[in-house]
Symmetry: D2
Subunit: 176 residues, 4 copies
């Protein structure tokens, strides 16, 4: 009987889940960064990737608007308990109630991260992403130095399309 989940024959397990790309950046960003985020969202959605972000304003809202303009799917990992706080372009709002500790989730959830602009929350997410070994592509985001040497682990992109292509290449490579 197809009504038993054990004997069910209708659905096959997915071969492969959709690729999720995490996009991080400030809630109060400059216009050039918002424009870049919009383009990143548009190009990610055109290529079938799900956009995951922190669900709020600024870079997060811009990337989601871009993704929705191309018919994509967006996920917001919210700091608060209320999905009403999500920006208008979030399809699936996950209220966590964790406050900014939710950044740890944002930075772990995607196959790769695109970082745009640089609020302090973005800095915490870069630390997590780097610590977890998640590939990160930077578009006008933080640079770090210690002992007079720059850490060059973050791959720098020239423009939104370049960032999208680099991030997708990393995410696909991690699948195989």
């Amino acid at each position: 009987m197809a009504s038993s989940w054990v004997d069910g024959i209708i659905a096959e397990p997915m071969n492969q889940r959709s690729i999720i790309i995490t996009v991080i950046g400030g809630s109060d960003a400059a216009q050039k960064d918002l424009d870049a985020a919009y383009q990143v969202g548009l190009e990610l959605a055109k290529r079938g990737a799900i956009v995951l972000c922190g669900g709020m304003t600024g870079v997060m809202e811009a990337v989601c608007k871009g993704a929705k303009d191309a018919g994509g799917t967006t996920v917001g990992i919210m700091p608060g308990n209320n999905d009403d706080d999500a920006n208008d372009y979030i399809d699936i709002a996950i209220p966590t109630g964790l406050g900014y500790a939710r950044n740890a989730i944002v930075a772990s959830a995607g196959g790769a991260i695109i970082a745009i602009d640089g609020a302090y929350g973005t800095l915490s997410e870069l630390g997590y992403g780097l610590g977890n070994g998640i590939p990160i592509v930077g578009l006008n985001t933080w640079q770090f130095m210690i002992d007079e040497k720059e850490d060059t682990t973050i791959e720098r992109a020239d423009n939104p399309l370049d960032a999208v292509e680099k991030a997708l290449a990393h995410a696909k490579a991690r699948r195989t």
Copy 2:
């Protein structure tokens, strides 16, 4: 120019996000509970609701298989850091790395909760859901007593279809 997210005219904000129903239950459940979970997933998806759960085995896997058999969408809030741990019927896996503290997110994220069966993790989720004022519908799940009196806040359902209808009614009522 449509390339500016501010001036963009292609996408309109959604009127309303899809309803998300959280389904909780043990990772190692009895067949009758797995069958109930499968039916719950099937009926939720038929009605257009997104199924959110803890992403693992048992009740979580059964409800997702049901949802996928009806063409629905499933989200898994994972305890670990790796989306490979998600069951085969999860569309969007969110690895949190929080361990079982992720239960706090699972129990906050939906418009209503359907609880099936009763592992201890389910108990923690019921505590969170009740504390957060999220409507909960129970199908053969925990009952609680204190000072010799039963807490009757959880609405009991007679069968999977009844649970789905009660949960959706609650989730819709919270929207208005």
Copy 3:
């Protein structure tokens, strides 16, 4: 040179850390439960145990006042970001910013748990404690049933002193 931490010869590693007992219960409890919590704090501190709790009012405040009256040490794992929210009898306030997800930490941190009274937050902590295999002693707290059978894992105590002795016995047994 003692100034190198590697060559330091002043301090020896502790043989054994102090025992921590977690006390959980509602922030708005009845007088009989507050009195019981005060006695639990007093007796724990007399026996050298550190009292850990959620740091807020009600049972949490009462148990801390008891512990301080006997010269003990108290730790509060706070839901918010501000240690000003801690009750007046907390020595070490740990603001987590996690909201009620901090319950997962409260319920994992002690060698044993004493549960008094029964708010919904307490229910989530009982679920975590049971799931993590932490010994729990109950004083007028929640009872749970599923499939018409009561779960009897929580050890019931007759009075505060009994609860303290049972909890310390469990915590010591886990050390050896």
Copy 4:
């Protein structure tokens, strides 16, 4: 009756909790950084401050050994579920089970932060501390730049004693 927590007259609420200083840094640091951490712990404890850290090895262990050599108190906010993972110089181990999301707590819990050395986890903690407006004193730790400009919010210290004095001055100023 002193046995009622409400009428109790033995204990007075504390005027003021002990100052907690958070010390962050890598679990696998260079000897010069370990030596600096040891001195920081020693000088903090001499001045009565509680040392809070991530509870593990490297900078965390060195600062705790320093604090214990001066008779201080140390708190470790652990990533795992088991207080056995704490280094030998932790008095109060708080296992969180949150993985590296516990960094959000470490970076919020103290009156000020001293950062030594620079692992990626440290970077996430700096992001949180800066985002939460917690004063941070750096000893050979990360520097950040964006848009070709260095962010100079972190106050740089010349040596361990200087770091301790700067951090305590900040923590005291926040109290008043």
